[in-house]
Structures are given as C-alpha cells and as structure tokens.
C-alpha cells in the first residue's frame, strides 16, 4: 500500500514553529491537526481548550522543552504527565484527568509537528481503540521525519 504525506505549515510563534501533515493530499487540504480540532471542538471543548492554550504558551514564551511533552515511544504527546500519573486540568474546582491526547513530534525546542489524537480510554495507547491508530501513525511519521533529517533530505532553514 502506497501513501504520501505533505508537511503543512501551521503557525510560527515567537519561540516555536508548528507544522502538521496532510496524508495523501497536498498542503491545501486538511491536515491531521486541523482534523483533530474539528472533531473535538464540540465534544471535548474544555480539554481541547487546555491543549491549545498550552501550545500557544509554549510557542510564545517557553519553547518546546522536552519536559513539557509526554514520551510516546518515538513520538510525543500532549498534554504531558508524570511517569505514572494522569495529567490534570481544572473542572469545577477539581483536578480532572485530561484524557484527550494530541500526538506530536518534537523535533527541537523550536520545531514541533502536530498530528492527530482522540480520547484515551485505556492505560496503554496500543490498547485503546480510539487512539491506537493515531499513536501508531504518529510514531510512523516521527520516524519518517527523523530519518528525513538524519539523511540530510530535510533541514531547518
């Protein structure tokens, strides 16, 4: 089976540039990240708000430091968490787990690729029917991107 992906520029903030990818389409088509936003705007608005606000603050002020991301094999994920704890955000004055996962790939403190994601319903991503595909795709794309840079076929200019 043959697929191709196009890298799509999303947004350049003061400290971080964000990209996404379009699978089997040109960059004028909807990227994985745009699809993620479209799908969760209504059903998971508060959790999506949390993630997008996070992205913007990292982009504007702190940069994409490693400790701000959760490690998902080769890829990374948002929101981050401790090693054995769920990430939390505030809902009705209570710490509530934000189980909405956005998979991404942190290339450096200044370049991040945003992919897709969904609500994680199992402890392991590989066991969750909703995020499993996104997790696997994110890791595949992350390896592809890393290889592209390692081979010198792509560079940050």
């Amino acid at each position: 089976m043959s697929n191709f992906v196009s890298i799509k520029f999303i947004k350049e903030y003061e400290r971080v540039v964000f990209y996404s990818v379009v699978v089997n389409g040109e960059e004028d088509k909807e990227s994985l990240f745009e699809l993620f936003i479209s799908l969760h705007t209504v059903s998971e608005s508060a959790k999506l708000n949390h993630i997008l606000a996070w992205i913007r603050v990292l982009g504007n002020k702190y940069g994409a430091k490693d400790r701000y991301f959760r490690h998902e094999m080769v890829a990374e994920g948002l929101p981050p968490n401790g090693i054995h704890r769920e990430p939390t955000y505030i809902e009705e004055d209570q710490n509530v787990s934000n189980n909405l996962r956005l998979y991404c790939h942190r290339l450096s403190d200044h370049v991040v690729f945003l992919f897709g994601g969904d609500v994680k319903t199992a402890t392991k991503a590989q066991d969750c029917p909703l995020v499993k595909h996104h997790f696997n795709l994110a890791n595949t794309l992350s390896r592809l991107i890393d290889k592209s840079f390692a081979d010198g076929r792509s560079r940050v200019g």
Binding site: F4, I10, K11, T41, S45, V111
Partner: protein
C-alpha cells in the same frame, strides 16, 4: 524558521510513505493562504480565559522551580530526595501541567529556600492639591489661596 526538503520515498513497516515538504519560499505570494492560524482563532472564538490563565500560571510556577533548581545546580531527583517524594511526582511538577496548592508551593519554597511566588504589596494612593497664597488680606477666604494645577499622587513604598 522553516523546513525545506525534497520529495523522497521510503519504506516503513508495511507501507511505502513518501514525504513532500511545502516549499514555503517558493510560495511567498500565497503566504496568507499557507499560514493556518487556527490555534489563535479557535482560542478567540471558543477559549475560556480561565483555562488560559491557569495554563500560564501552572507553566510559570513550574518554570520558576526549574530555574531555581538550575541556579542551585540541583536535579529533579535531588528535590525528590529533599522532600521525600517520588521522582515521578517532581517530574509532574516540572511538566507545567500540575495545578499546585499553596501548601505544596510553600513546601517547595522551604525545601529550596527560595521564593517561587510573590504577593504584590498594596498600593495606597493619596491625592492632594497644592494651594498657594496670593493677594491681600482683604480677599475673601475662598479667594486667598490660588488652586495650583499640581495634583499629585503618593504611592507608599
């Protein structure tokens, strides 16, 4: 900062995936179309200011803790040992996603012997008008003094 690259093919797992990178330099005239500012637009349209403030505060606190650790040449594991906590707990604090209680912040401050948060001092504004004496004693009391244009504000230290 942008990513440039060439079209190439690579085999990953069962798929053949090729990656094409947007040639942003070649499409400068279409910049407005290429940049997708969905993050800011979504936050302006759907965002809850409370969530954004919480994200900023949490990140600011975690960043301050990280800065203090660095200034003292300490690692996260050192803080864990100092406070009798698991390293995973410290990692969660440093991820910027944890919503701290005042009690926890104070405990960290005590352990590090450094302030993480400050409460701004109260401002006391005292408004005054300067009057200067003019004319002769035959003037009515309300005509004796000329109201100065100087109106000052005193701010206590």
């Amino acid at each position: 900062m942008m990513i440039t690259g060439i079209f190439f093919m690579t085999k990953i797992l069962k798929y053949t995936i090729s990656m094409k990178v947007s040639r942003r330099k070649a499409n400068q005239e279409k910049k407005g179309l290429l940049e997708v500012n969905m993050i800011d637009q979504w936050l302006e349209q759907h965002g809850d200011p409370t969530i954004e403030r919480l994200v900023k505060k949490n990140l600011a606190i975690s960043d301050k803790i990280a800065a203090i650790l660095e200034s003292k040449e300490m690692k996260a594991s050192d803080l864990a040992t100092l406070m009798g906590k698991q390293k995973s707990e410290i990692s969660k604090w440093l991820s910027g996603q944890h919503t701290f209680t005042t009690k926890t912040i104070v405990a960290i401050e005590a352990a590090l012997d450094a302030d993480i948060i400050f409460v701004e001092p109260l401002r006391q504004n005292v408004y005054f008008t300067v009057h200067s004496r003019i004319g002769s004693s035959s003037l009515a009391p309300d005509e004796v003094f000329e109201e100065s244009v100087s109106v000052g504000e005193y701010v206590s230290a």
